[in-house]
Symmetry: C2
């Protein structure tokens, strides 16, 4: 443990001094077993080893994180898609945890800014974003257990990004669905977008969606487009009965 403390002191001080502060904002809770998170953001190029000579980097944690993602998404899909058979559920899950999607999630959280590496950050391939995301999920599980890890996956993936209609290819964009519906119903609509970073480390945007001059939903995310999509999705679920006739 004193070894870990040294890493903590040496390689996570100075410009990385706010590592745990930034991390806490991403996690939404205070990390306890800090060594897991140090590992989760240590690239193999650092060539760190523990006392027994075992390498310290995030690659083993990816293995754990990948498994936890699969489990949480599996039980979510089991409950949400009662009509889907085993093959169908497997296909749906692979869409959610696709390399591409995990890379997006890692990018959205700017995880690469936290990584400790001897390689310049722009020399990494695209997959590092997803790998860091998986490793972070693994670290959360090992630090806090399944429940907290599950909550993180819900907060960061399922709630903002996963919905069954979309996965099933029925909805491409909730915003376009909403606009189409408003035009057909001859209702005015307005997306009021503003910067709303607050205390977050990352830039955030908020949006208020009004229909017929009444605010019907809100959204907040790291891009304007995403915030609008979240607000549109919420409006969709609020008006589900009325709007869903457009879906099929």
């Amino acid at each position: 443990m004193s070894f870990i403390r040294n890493i903590l002191k040496n390689s996570r001080s100075g410009k990385d001094g706010n590592f745990f502060l930034e991390l806490q904002q991403i996690l939404g809770f205070k990390p306890k077993k800090k060594h897991y998170y140090i590992k989760a953001f240590t690239h193999r190029s650092m060539n760190l080893r523990d006392k027994k000579g075992n390498p310290i980097n995030y690659e083993r944690l990816e293995f754990v994180g990948d498994a936890m993602l699969s489990s949480v998404i599996a039980s979510y899909l089991y409950n949400q898609v009662p009509h889907g058979d085993e093959g169908y559920l497997t296909k749906m899950r692979s869409k959610v945890v696709s390399r591409e999607h995990l890379n997006e999630l890692g990018k959205e959280l700017n995880l690469i800014d936290l990584v400790n590496s001897r390689i310049p950050k722009n020399n990494f391939g695209n997959n590092i974003h997803g790998n860091l995301f998986e490793a972070l999920v693994g670290a959360i599980y090992l630090d806090k257990g399944y429940k907290i890890c599950e909550r993180f996956i819900y907060n960061r993936i399922i709630d903002p990004h996963v919905d069954i209609e979309r996965l099933e290819g029925k909805v491409i964009s909730y915003k376009s669905l909403l606009i189409e519906w408003c035009q057909k119903e001859k209702k005015t609509f307005n997306y009021d977008v503003y910067e709303d970073t607050g205390k977050d480390a990352l830039k955030h945007f908020s949006v208020k969606l009004s229909i017929a001059d009444k605010v019907v939903s809100k959204g907040r995310a790291t891009s304007k487009k995403k915030a609008e999509e979240i607000a549109s999705k919420r409006a969709f679920f609020a008006f589900q009965g009325k709007m869903s006739r457009h879906l099929y």
Copy 2:
């Protein structure tokens, strides 16, 4: 739920009347959300459907159970094999959750005796044993959550069947290792095996392993051979320092 109660009444009564009793002995706890276990032991040949027309059988539960097995084994291996990289851990896990191994586990628990099916039991292929085992794990997770599911996997797989030396191909049989060691050290040994089914639904055997006329460990399992292997493994870990020189 009344539908499930009907299934419970009709297809799990009579000769299946002791379904939940037998199940409880396998689980080591009292099932709560019983409908999951009914599903876990309903074969598709029963053609059961819920009110919405979704099929009731164990296939979707296999998807959940498979994911839970992967997660629990992943975090076990992460902790137990600190020297193993991601690829190595993946390889080790696939040995533990191989189709063959899962079939063995399902067979050992006689899960097929609990299955509700229109197909005669000897017409099933070998994979039904593993499929039922996976579905049962899925049902446990959905009924009781991750912690209890993890404990079941430890009790039924990891503790009795998984050890790293063996997975790494270093130990083929603890019994042969133990005998070899006793012979070299000129110590007498004795496996005292007796039937010990007790209140279990399945026949069980217990064994007391004595070295130099002193009982050093015990084992209990559904076959004599397995009980001896468990006792030998326990003796091995008790004498680890002394015996492990034989390993390398």
